[in-house]
Structures are given as C-alpha cells and as structure tokens.
Amino acid sequence: MTDRDQISEAEHHEHIVQPGTYLAIILCLLFLTAATVGAAYVNLGRFNIVVALAIAVLKATLVVLFFMHAKFSPKRTKLVILAGIFWLAILLFMTLSDYVSRVDYRGIRYPMTQNVSAILPNRG
C-alpha cells in the first residue's frame, strides 16, 4: 500500500473510449435484443428464462464494461461492482434457499377469505 494510493490510482491517464467502440457495442446490444425476443418464441421449457437472463446479463456486461468504462477503470471500481453483484446474489439466493427447501412449499399457499363468517359458518 503506497502512502497515497488515492493519487497513484487517479494518476493513470484517462482512457477515452472511441466512437467506433460505442457503435460496435450498440449494434451488439440491438442484435441481442432481437435475439432475446426471438428466443422467447421458441419453447425451451424452463430454459426460456435461463436464456433470457443470460442474454440480459451479457447485454448488461457490455454496457458496464464499455458505455460505463468499467473495463478502463481502476481496480477499486471493479471491486465495487463485484461487491454489488455479490450482495445481490446473497439477497436473492439465500432467500430462495428457504423457499426451495420448504417441504410444504407448493401445496400450502392459498388465498384466504377475509370474511370470518364465510370460514366458520357455524361458529357460536
């Protein structure tokens, strides 16, 4: 750790992404949009959502790396991005771990009637 890592990290020269790169990326994004719509019309069973999310992740990665210059940013920025993804994964997967491992998960959810008398007509 240098004494002033904040300076050393900032002093690297700003990388200017050129319009050509942007153009290539936007074309990729448009193509992937078409691909995701196309894939939705093919019956892949449970893999429809997998494909849709995979394409979305790919698109988001392109935006982050190039439009948002993450590819040319200091390590610290990349760490921040990874931390965000990691914590999002904690939120999603650890909660789902409860839901998928509940033995009685499927059969038990049903709408309740709010009207008490409809539930127990004979109550004294």
Partner: protein, 327 residues
Amino acid sequence: MQSPLPFFPEEASSFAGNVDALFLFILSTCLFFAVLVTLLAIYAAFKYRRTSPGEVGSAVEGNTLLEIGWTVIPLFIAMGMFAWGAVVYTNFRTAPKDTLDIYVVGKQWMWKLQQPNGKREINELHIPVNRNIKLIMGSEDVIHNFYVPAFRAKMDVVPGRYNTLWFRPTKLGKYHFFCSQYCGTNHAVMGGWVTVMDPAEYAAWLSDEAGDVNPTSAGEKLFTQLACNTCHLGNGTGRAPSLNGVYGAKVLLADGTTVIADDAYIRESILQPKAKIVAGYQPVMPTFQGLVSEEQILNLTAYIKSLQTQPVPAKGAGIAPPTAGKK
C-alpha cells in the same frame, strides 16, 4: 405455588428437558467466559492503574498465537452449541407419525381449537398426557404465534399457509399458552390454558358434550352433499380416482412426478383441482374455492383420512407404484 423469584418455568413436555439442558450448557459456558473476561479486566484495571500522570503503557502490539487461539477455541465451542441446538430443533420440527391432530385457527384476538372428534374449544386446549400432539394451524387474518412456555415450544400461525407444531406433554396440569407474535390491539389477551389430562379423563371429557359432530362423519356427509362421491367412486371405476388409502400415500401425477397426499395436498386439490392432476385422469373437477369453508375442508380431510383403512382398488386408485418418484 412458585417461589417469588422463579427462574425456570415448569417442564411439562418432552422438549422441556432438552431445551433446559441445552440452555444450561450455553449458560455455563457463557458464564465461564463472562466471568473470566470480567475478572481479567478488573484485575488489569487495578494492577495497571496509572500511578504517575505522565506514565505510558508498555509497547506490546499483539500476539498472533493468542489471536488464533481466541478465534479458534470459541469457534469450536460455538459449533458445539450450534450442533446441539440443531438436533433439538430438528426433532421439534419433525413430527412423529402417530400424532393426535388438533386443528387450530388463530384470529384477532382469539384461538379456535378443534379436537379430532369435532369438539370445539375457544382459548382452551385439552390434551391427554404422554401422547404426541400435533397442532395444524392456520390464521384468518394476521400472523399469530402459538406458544406454550411449559412445553418450550412455539410456532407462528401464518395466514395463507399451514404451520404445524407438535409436542408430547409429560406432566398433568394446567399451563398458560400465549400468542407470542404481535398481532394488534389485544395481542396480550390472546391466550389461554392448556389442560393436560389423564387419558381416561380426556376420553371422558371428549365424549362429554355430544353437541359437536365429529369431523369424520361431518366430512362424510359433505362428501355426499358436494357430490364428490359421484366421481370419486370407492372401487376405482369413477371419472376420478378412488380415495381409499390415498391419505399419506404417494400419488402419481400426470407429469410423472409424485406427491404425498397430505393435508396440504388435499386442501389444494379441493381448492385448485387443476394444480396437480393424477396420472390417467382428465382435469374435470371444478374448484371448490369459496364453496367450502376452512372448517369444511378440515372435515373433508378427516373423512379422506378415515378412508385410509378402506381396501384400495387394484385400478383407479392413483397411488403411485412403489418404484415411481425415486428420481
């Protein structure tokens, strides 16, 4: 009846001894560490008190070996507590097979309980001693929690789902039960008494007031009233599978999977018949959503349960062959 400064509530269920033993184990371990740290701190505070205004402490920075020691040793002890606790809890969440099932409905701010024979109580629960009791609990409005301190057991009662709570009372007597999940204005008075009785007394108490119908016969009547019997023929020749012996058994579904025909499955099949179609049958059953009450579902379930002992037809039962569902 109790000392003025009581510490332990009565131990009146099979869990109570386990929970208290575990509690005492954690308590003694914690006391050991708490006393140790406190004594060390007090000792140091006197031994190393400042004697002259300009005095400076020694130049110690730390000791890696010590750090590792006081990370690893507590870790092992904690794992011991965790494992013991997990064992007690798993036992508490896994009800045995031979339970006496009591249906519990929580609503703001009362408990409605129903014995297997249909006898109903409000804010009172009578149970026989030394029997495994299972409460099948639902809520009509908000989240409640059924808590019997003497049994060391509690479980939330959540609207929109069934939760179960089982215990085995071991001691005769009358014990408080509470709602222990905050549920609105009269949360604090939403409780009552559990009376643990001698089995003979319990039987006498059960048959005492004849006013209430038993759920199985009520369910049988409903089964005819709602015309369920026109399709679910007992001999398996109807448009719908025979229900003989189906309760608790594996059912083979149209999509090749199997499901255990438990209370939840039966309730779902009544309310959302198309959610799980038995293999070999058409989805022709109408939904009974809004047509049957909570209680009537319980009665129907009780009736279907009573069919467990009826002969299962060779064809048309819907019960999965023993090999299916292994994948």
